[in-house]
Amino acid sequence: MRFGSAFNETLMKTSIYDDRKYTLQTDLTIIGSGIAGLSAALFAVQEGLDILLLGDAGASNFASGLLDVLAAFPGKKIDHCSDPWQGMAVLPEHFPKHPYNRLQSDEIYQAVVQVMRALATADLGYNGFEKENVQVITGLGTCKQTYRVPESMWPGVKAFQDKSPCLLVDFHGLKDFSGPWLRSTLAREWPAIRTERVDFPETRGHSELFAVRLAQSLESERVRQKLAAAVAPLIRDEQFLAFPALLGLYSSGAIRAELEERLGVSIFEIPTMPPSVPGLRFLETMGGILNRYSCFRRESGKRVSHIQREETGQFALTLGEGEFSSRVLSRQVMLATGRFLGGGLQADPEQIREVVFDLPVVQPSPDQDWHQEDFFDPGGHQANRAGLEVDSVFRPLDTKGDVVYENLYAVGSILAHSDWMRMKCGAGVAIASAFKAVQSICTASNQEDRFSL
């Protein structure tokens, strides 16, 4: 199979490019715009770094919008951990190489809070408990543990806790969501939940409805009015009203508040299968927040086609190819490229490789299986723990254990030893590793500034 990374190892003589200017010079280029890349960008611009954010959302298009930090230990049997911080305290013992072990749990908490605060300034509030995971009901009627949920789901957490009477409304033609499924699965645990199915306003004649499309249409007040009118007569004595997560894309907080006022009940959303509206809200809102900063630049359409280092150690990146390509000189580069679905890792039958720099990937040895025979094996699959080995500030290491480049970082799900799907730690690792890496960049550049003074 084809494999070619964008990186050329030979150092580039600065003079060769003297006559060909860089389009942009920047402190930090982040490759990847998922949760890790966006969080790193946020931390960096808050510190005043000039940054360039590359790549599209990739696998994050499938993000749920829930914010997992740590909820389970895979193994011979799955151990739940209801308090992620307590879980982190025993993590070094069970998963000594997990990325979290490179941070104090305090730092992880601070990092998560910093992202939450920024989101709250843009009408995307998150909620949860300090020292306990939240139990949130999914569209399948499973009860998922996560650390922070969007505020739009918060009343549901309360309603489920108290098993309060609740009306769940879904829509004809929305094939990705079934209220009866949730109701029937939870019948014993939460008998007071009732379902109704209505026509979504202004969709007659449409064959299939998709959550993202419906969320967009609820940005219109006329549609909201009609939805409220359709649902109002169905409410009996319920104080809670649930919808699949599609109540608006850009101004979801205001939309939900308005519907609550019209209907006089507490409204909450239930997470759906991807592509998920709360996941998109997260990506969109983060992008919007970053755009407020003048030191923030973004190029989503172009791939990194070539990377080389100058003698100074800075990275020269070529974005795109041919006449539409542009050149960037960057003091630091951060990989937030994700795993297989995101495109940061690629595998042929023999081995797993890192795509941009062809960095060494920690992976199962040739005689080990990548995957277990049982899809639901409680221990998870080896391939999901493959990834990049990093130092204490998230700089990739070579096979000898040395830092590859002092100004190259890697964050998020591409890191080795963290099965985010089974440990429920995806967002937490993305945010915490981004936090630590940016901190390190700032410390390094402060020192540089001191020297130049």
């Binding site: 739940h80 499973t142 064959s207 299939e208 039958p349 025979e373 999901n384 799907m421």
Partner: protein, 518 residues
């Protein structure tokens, strides 16, 4: 307790073909199958309707049988067959003697084979390697084994036969040279019942030895596992055979919208673990790439394996060299007068096997009735209507019904087809049909996402219909994804690995299904 004239054990191509054959002769029968239609080797093969060319050198008898049967089926069951045609190709380094033997044997056995210039062969199939040294066009065809079996059992049931899905034989009572009663257990409900029959036919393929042993008739079998790979897209129009003695990775058969790469031959000590392995998959890809270099970069969506039931007739080390001709055994020699075993053989000759078995059964029962499957066309049944790749999507597009949503977007299977198939299954069985049964009768779960999305949509529909309750949905999805996984695990690299990550991100990462009870 149930009574019948003939009890057939095993719902593969032979068993269902036999049920139809008997029903057409007016002989009442019951067919019991422990899992589902074609759950064994009948569903675990490449769906090739042999022209006879494959066996022309090493097994002329099989070659003749295949040629004659293939011609019959093409005229009697055309809806199950795509007359794709085939090529036999040799590449640089392949044995010249074998090529010469092939060329001389074809006319001798009456197998049509037309020598092609390399240029011509490449024009017909541009994905072939330019390093071809020889090419022959033959009359191979592709057959949909699920459609075939579903149509066979469909007509049999219409004529009064009884079909029992998920019924496993757990004990056989014999008395004075007779199988007196057969205990079967419904594997879903756990209920057992006994069946009395004048004649019992063991058509359980690789499991024939197990059933025979229950009756006290020793039957030594050996097992040769064959693994196959399914590509994401169809690579060739025709069947491509490697022109060399049978070996791994030497055939590519189109199956509607995909291609199926075969095959390996691995001796198994028993039937405990019939799973394709990663080694086999990698081996086949590298072997097949000699004919079709594109296989190196092709996305495979899954692997599957079937077991060739081979009778231990001689000391043959390699399962492939043993005769592929079928065996019809009258256990009167073992002291059992009403017990027959039919095993071995090929998909192509299933009808002939059924005919010979029915002949013998009828003779022993003293019934004079001619075989009619040799002359009567196989009617299309609604059971097998949606098994063919691409058929659902065509029907959906032409009906243009806005309310009929696609539940499976990869293979474009609309809600109406799912509802139809599940409703028919409900008429056949007391238990709630599951996703695996749906998969065998439609294209649901067979596309690129391997069931990640459609499993959720179909389950949602079933709750909407009130057919599922409680955590049945979680259990069904887990069972279904596990079954899909057994075929995914060996081929997880490149694009399909990313796909598997998405499946796990959804079902475990988000929905926590790994934490729900099975």
């Amino acid at each position: 307790m149930m009574q019948t004239q003939v009890l057939i054990i095993g719902g593969g191509c032979t068993g269902t073909g036999l049920a139809r054959d008997l029903a057409l002769r007016g002989i009442p029968c019951i067919l019991v199958e422990k899992r589902d239609i074609n759950a064994g080797a009948s569903g675990g093969n490449h769906g090739l309707l042999h022209s006879g060319a494959r066996y022309v050198v090493c097994d002329p008898h099989s070659s003749r049988e295949c040629r004659a049967e293939a011609e019959l089926l093409k005229s009697l069951a055309p809806h199950c067959i795509e007359e794709a045609g085939g090529l036999f190709v040799a590449v640089a380094g392949d044995d010249e003697n074998y090529i010469a033997d092939f060329e001389s044997a074809c006319p001798r056995e009456g197998v049509r084979s037309e020598p092609l210039e390399v240029r011509e062969a490449l024009e017909r199939e541009p994905r072939l390697t330019p390093r071809l040294t020889a090419a022959y066009a033959v009359d191979d065809a592709a057959v949909d084994p699920f459609r075939l079996s579903l149509d066979n059992i469909g007509q049999a049931v219409e004529l009064g036969a009884v079909y029992l899905n998920s019924h496993e034989v757990v004990a056989i009572q014999t008395k004075s040279r007779h199988l007196q009663s057969i205990q079967v257990r419904n594997v879903q409900s756990g209920r057992t019942m006994s069946i009395q029959a004048e004649m019992v036919v063991n058509a359980t393929g690789a499991w024939a030895g197990h059933i025979a042993a229950m009756a006290g008739a020793p039957l030594e079998m050996h097992y040769s596992k064959g693994t196959l790979l399914v590509t994401h897209y169809r690579l060739t129009n025709r069947i491509i055979n490697r022109l060399r003695p049978p070996s791994d990775g030497d055939i590519l058969v189109p199956g509607g919208t995909v291609s199926i790469m075969g095959t390996t031959s691995v001796q198994l000590p028993d039937l405990e673990r019939v799973r394709p392995t990663r080694e086999e998959a990698e081996q086949m890809v590298s072997q097949g790439a000699a004919m079709l270099p594109c296989l190196q970069s092709t996305r495979f969506t899954r692997a599957y394996a079937g077991v060739r039931p081979l009778l231990k007739q001689s000391e043959v080390a390699d399962g492939r060299a043993a005769s592929r001709g079928f065996a019809l055994i009258d256990h009167a020699l073992d002291g059992l007068d009403n017990f027959l075993t039919v095993t071995g053989g090929k998909l192509t000759t299933y009808r002939l096997m059924a005919e010979k078995t029915a002949d013998l059964a009828a003779e022993k029962l003293g019934i004079k009735a001619e075989c009619r499957t040799r002359t009567e066309p196989l009617p299309e049944s609604s059971l097998g209507e949606w098994t063919e790749g691409g058929k659902s999507s065509k029907a959906w597009l032409s009906q243009a019904d806005a309310g009929d949503h696609l539940l499976c977007e990869c293979e474009m299977v609309p809600k109406s087809h799912v509802v139809q198939v599940l409703a028919e299954l409900e008429t056949q069985q007391a238990e709630v049909p599951d996703l695996n049964q749906l998969r065998r009768r439609t294209r649901v779960g067979k596309g690129g996402c391997q069931g990640a999305f459609c499993s959720l949509r179909v389950t949602g529909l079933r709750y909407d219909q009130g057919k599922l309750a409680g955590d049945q949905g979680h259990r069904q999805i887990k069972e279904f994804l596990r079954a899909r996984w057994s075929g995914q695990q060996p081929i997880l690299w490149d694009g399909q690995l990313a796909q598997a990550e998405l499946t796990e991100a959804m079902h475990c990462g988000l929905f926590d299904l790994e934490m729900q009870s099975d």
